[in-house]
């Protein structure tokens, strides 16, 4: 059963990823990305990471892909890109060589090290207790870890998100008359 889930979810992930790269239409590429993200969420559940699977679906498939589609529609660039135009002759073969080489290197490293003993990590007592909880053990343990050991990083991410929102508002709004903080190509 677990093997079946892995194969189906893996096919979803890889099929969606190939779709993102090969589909010429940006909307189709975004929808292929949704397929990949759902496959990843299924694999998260298979690895006992239920909370992250829910976050994956809500944040990635729900928010980020919708943001992509929104920008595609806002700018009206929802037409197919001509993939036959190739500005650099060597680019695609070189990219393919780099991709195959990367898979080979990573695959060799993973397979060569699969028999190595993993270092044992002793989690803190609170996390161990939370994991032992038969109900919501994963989400309790994650909450203990994030809000105790990584609470500073958690606070910093809130600052990061506020900065990102302010930056985007300033970047994306149309400059008023007389404002020159965005240097245009025609003004130079």
């Amino acid at each position: 059963m677990q093997l079946f889930v892995f194969i189906v979810a893996g096919a979803m992930v890889l099929g969606g990823a190939v779709g993102v790269v090969l589909r010429t239409h940006p909307v189709h590429a975004a929808l292929s990305l949704v397929l990949t993200l759902f496959g990843i969420a299924v694999l998260f559940i298979a690895q006992d990471a239920q909370f992250l699977a829910a976050v994956e679906v809500i944040v990635y498939a729900g928010a980020i892909v919708v943001l992509f589609l929104f920008v595609i529609m806002l700018l009206g660039i929802d037409r197919a890109e001509d993939l036959h135009v190739e500005p650099f002759k060597i680019q695609r073969p070189a990219a393919l060589v780099i991709g195959v080489g990367l898979v080979s290197l990573l695959g060799i490293a993973v397979i060569a090290s699969r028999e190595h003993p993993v270092p044992t990590v002793t989690p803190s007592q609170a996390v161990t207790d939370a994991l032992a909880d038969p109900h919501n053990g994963n989400i309790r343990a994650l909450a203990r870890d994030v809000f105790s050991d990584h609470v500073l990083a958690f606070e910093l991410t809130s600052a990061l998100l506020v900065i990102a929102v302010v930056a985007t508002v300033i970047l994306a709004r149309k400059p008023r008359k007389g404002e020159t903080y965005i240097v245009s190509g025609s003004a130079q």
């Binding site: 093997l3 790269v21 992509f68 660039i77 994030v146 990061l160 998100l161 990102a164 930056a167 970047l171």
Partner: protein
Amino acid sequence: MIAVAHPTTTWYLLLSALLFAIGVVGVLVRRNPLVLFMCIELMLNAVNLSFVAFAKRMGDIGGESTVFFVMVVAAAEVVVGLGIVVAILRRKPNATTDDLSELKG
């Protein structure tokens, strides 16, 4: 024989390596800036998958909290990146990544 086979951490890591390489090839090949961002998301998700696989293998919840933070940073990155894309494409609606070389001063 095949029925008792069990997906181990190695399988997840190989899948993650494949997904990462597809994302790399996408970034190198595609010229639409929006699709480039989608390929970067593919790479981030590949790394997230390997983090979760290691968290399960080592019995350490720290891997999962790392994935949590990666997701937050990815969301911030997409928001800022799409803001830049909107600012550029509003000026030149058919800009590709090659045209962005005009940005240099």
